[in-house]
């Protein structure tokens, strides 16, 4: 069965450093992968999309890579700030039928940026 794995342990880093979060998946070849941010008590908010034919995507201080051979995506936040503290989730579409969308999420990694 398909599986999406993210580090369950919280990641603690110092302000100004780069945070790197990992999303691994098995038994699937997704056409794209999305990253979301979730704050406590709120719904997730979309951050970035990366497609299977893209190696890297950037948005301001965020960078996402997608290695379809390793079946892994890395999510980087450079020059991290305490306001970046949140849970970050990756999501893949596991629908087998075109036209359907079964966006399935990893369990998320909680990032804590210390001032």
């Amino acid at each position: 069965s398909q599986k999406i794995e993210q580090n369950s342990e919280a990641l603690n880093i110092q302000e100004g450093k780069t945070a790197t979060l990992t999303c691994n998946y098995t038994n699937y070849s997704p056409a794209y992968l999305q990253w979301y941010r979730q704050d406590p008590g709120r719904g997730p908010v979309f951050l970035l999309l990366i497609r299977e034919n893209e190696k890297e995507k950037r948005k301001e201080r965020l960078k996402v890579t997608f290695d379809t051979t390793l079946k892994q995506s890395l999510f980087h936040i450079t020059a991290s700030q305490p306001a970046d503290s949140a849970t970050y989730l990756c999501a893949l579409d596991l629908a087998m039928d075109t036209g359907r969308r079964a966006l399935t999420f990893g369990s998320g990694t909680r990032l804590q940026v210390q001032p």
Binding site: G41, L89, R101, A102, S107
Partner: protein, 117 residues
């Protein structure tokens, strides 16, 4: 107000009762989703829908029923609530899949916190 709204935001019920969680979006998005979120499990997909009258089971559909007679509404019903269904439920919608100029992003509601005693 425009957006995606869930109701009720908080609900306490008893084992065996039927509960319906409502989800309404004003964008006419084609795709809608229901997730539950529990500590240690992250977001788990219950049901998803590509359009009105088209629904599919996700990872954890047992004990839940959905309908989508209108594009903007996607209610989730627990036919006979159990304690294991105590959770936070999130509804989401999306205009399309990732395509030309589209990210396929999901827009989430604020969640419905359900407690089954």
């Amino acid at each position: 107000d425009a957006g995606i709204t869930q109701s009720p935001r908080y609900k306490i019920t008893e084992t065996g009762r039927q509960v319906t969680l409502m989800c309404h979006q004003t964008w006419s998005h084609s795709y809608m989703f229901w997730y539950r979120q529990d500590l240690g499990h992250g977001l788990r997909l219950i049901y998803y829908s590509a359009a009105a009258d088209i629904t599919d089971k996700g990872e954890v559909p047992d004990g839940y029923v959905v309908s989508r007679s209108k594009t903007e509404n996607f209610p989730l019903t627990l036919e006979s609530a159990t304690r294991s269904q105590t959770s936070v439920y999130f509804c989401a919608s999306s205009e399309s899949g990732p395509g030309q100029g589209h990210t396929g992003e999901l827009f989430f509601g604020e969640g419905s916190r359900l407690t089954v005693l």
